[in-house]
Amino acid sequence: MTSVIQCHELGRYYGQVVGLNELTTELPGGVVGLVGPNGAGKSTLLRLIVGEIRPSRGWIKVLGEEPFGNRELYRRIGFCPQQDALYEDMSGYEIVRLLLRLGGFSPQESRTRAEQALERLTMTARMHDRVATYSKGMRQRIRIAQSIAHDPAFLVLDEPMSGLDPLGRREVLELLRALGQGGTHVLFSSHILYEVEHLTAEIVLIHRGRLLAKGALPEVRALLSMHPRRVELGARRARDLARALIGCEEVVSVRVGATAEAEDRLSIETRAVGPFFQRLNALAAGERFGITALRSADASLEAVFDYLIA
């Protein structure tokens, strides 16, 4: 897969404050989630990508070109900023249409595209009302609409789900998935980790201005060898199973549920997931422990996030 973004020793400083520090990476196409705690540098990276600011050091290329002041590149990029800023006295439709006109579309085509984009974001009913009368969620939809109206090849969204109710978030997730499937490269940042996970397996994790991890989530998890994998089991003969497992060399620790209600729960830590599951299969087949539940407790993005940030 060709790289959409390439950066080499990319750094951005705000006076004494480090926004990004020596970021060297290539980001693939497709749908990629950018995650990190507050102040990690996500917005800084996105602003560098869309050419809003210049790097303090290093360089960055988007779709093979440097973004700052690159007018032609802006025909292929759509950007949805995080800040809640719109022309308050214009309607949502007027804003999207104006920005399409500035994008080089004819008046007629601008009208059509604006209507289509707003329909995709279910804003048709309110599109002629002034933005000042919109709720936070509606304003967010307008911001997303203006970023997709010109069918960009690469869509960059900074916290696209913020301000949306659960229904709205689901609609946006579906929209981004559809765009990704349609061939648009999508890079979005979010705090809502389970939604990132829901939408894409490809993540980029940054913290304190540095790249901590990138790639498919399971692969990133597998790389975290310093953190044994946790597996949670439910079994009717939990203690007998525990005794059997404790002798296996793949198993680091076994913990039985602390309370009476949790007596049938086991929490197992293992350094080698594959061999562990093979051993578990063999044990389960050989003796009836009555396994009722099996869950990989820390393969989630949140767990990976916690391990890497801590």
Partner: protein, 266 residues
């Protein structure tokens, strides 16, 4: 160039009608209305009969309208050309469109320059008309020296447009254009423009004064004659200089706007 004019035209159209929905526009109209209101009051309650003395006209049009109101109106409207986009953080949308950045400055400046010109010319015309009493023989402004009426209107028009370009450029060059504009108007021009000497030529007000008074020197009065000891420029030369100042301001503003990056608060 084609992209520049096209984008500037689109922005001009989009923002022209927005202007009159903003508080700034109403403040500017109120400011421009002040000499009109005063002219009405003075004419109703004053003690002079018939057409007013020309000194009164000059006091209203030159000292009040051109030297005070015109720069203030231009400042209120034009300092926001870029500053408002940055403060409202809407500039991100414009920067991520395939348009030359100077088009943003040019389009938005045109969208304020036209209303400024209209409002100020209307104010000047009303002031002149109001200063004559109804029923005067001078109803067709025959009491004014030939050409003065046109000169007043053109001076006001040129002043509004040039000052608006200067303050629009200030918005692109500086972080606090309102402050810079106030300093320029009341300190730089107020001080330098009224000091005897060639330093007056470094001000806009010198060229506006030249245009208005070159052919009406008798209106200047003895005191002003003493202060303004620098020979006035010819009207055509004054217009050229003003045009140069306007172009220079816009070009400088556009250049800086293209190079500068704007770090917006979250």
């Amino acid at each position: 160039m084609k992209d520049l004019t096209r984008a500037a035209w689109i922005l001009f159209q989009a923002h022209l009608w927005r202007i009159f929905r903003t508080r700034r526009a109403w403040i500017a109209i109120a400011l421009a209305g002040m000499p009109v209101a005063l002219a009405a009051v003075v004419r109703v309650v004053s003690h002079f009969e018939g057409p007013p003395p020309l000194e009164v006209l000059i006091t209203f049009t030159w000292f009040f309208l051109v030297q005070t109101i015109v720069p203030l109106v231009a400042l209120v409207m034009a300092s926001a050309v870029i500053a408002e986009e940055i403060e409202d953080r809407t500039i991100t949308y414009l920067f991520t469109r395939p348009i030359p950045r100077p088009a943003i400055l040019l389009g938005r400046w045109l969208a304020v320059a036209l209303p400024i010109a209209l409002v100020l010319c209307a104010a000047a015309e009303l002031v002149v008309r109001l200063l004559e009493k109804p029923g005067d023989a001078g109803r067709e402004l025959a009491w004014m020296p030939e050409g003065l009426h046109g000169s007043i209107l053109l001076t006001v028009l040129m002043g509004g447009v040039v000052y608006s370009a200067l303050f629009a450029a200030a918005g692109a060059l500086f972080k606090r254009p309102m402050l810079i504009g106030l300093g320029y108007t009341f300190v730089y021009e107020g001080f330098l423009g009224n000091l005897p000497g060639a330093n007056q030529k470094a001000t806009v007000v010198y060229y506006l004064r030249s245009y208005l008074f070159s052919e009406h020197r008798s209106l200047m009065g003895d005191v002003e004659e003493a202060i303004f000891s620098v020979p006035l420029a010819e009207p055509s030369s004054a217009v050229r200089s003003l045009a140069l100042i306007l172009l220079g301001a816009l070009v400088l503003g556009a250049w800086r706007f293209t190079k500068r990056e704007y770090v917006l608060s979250a």
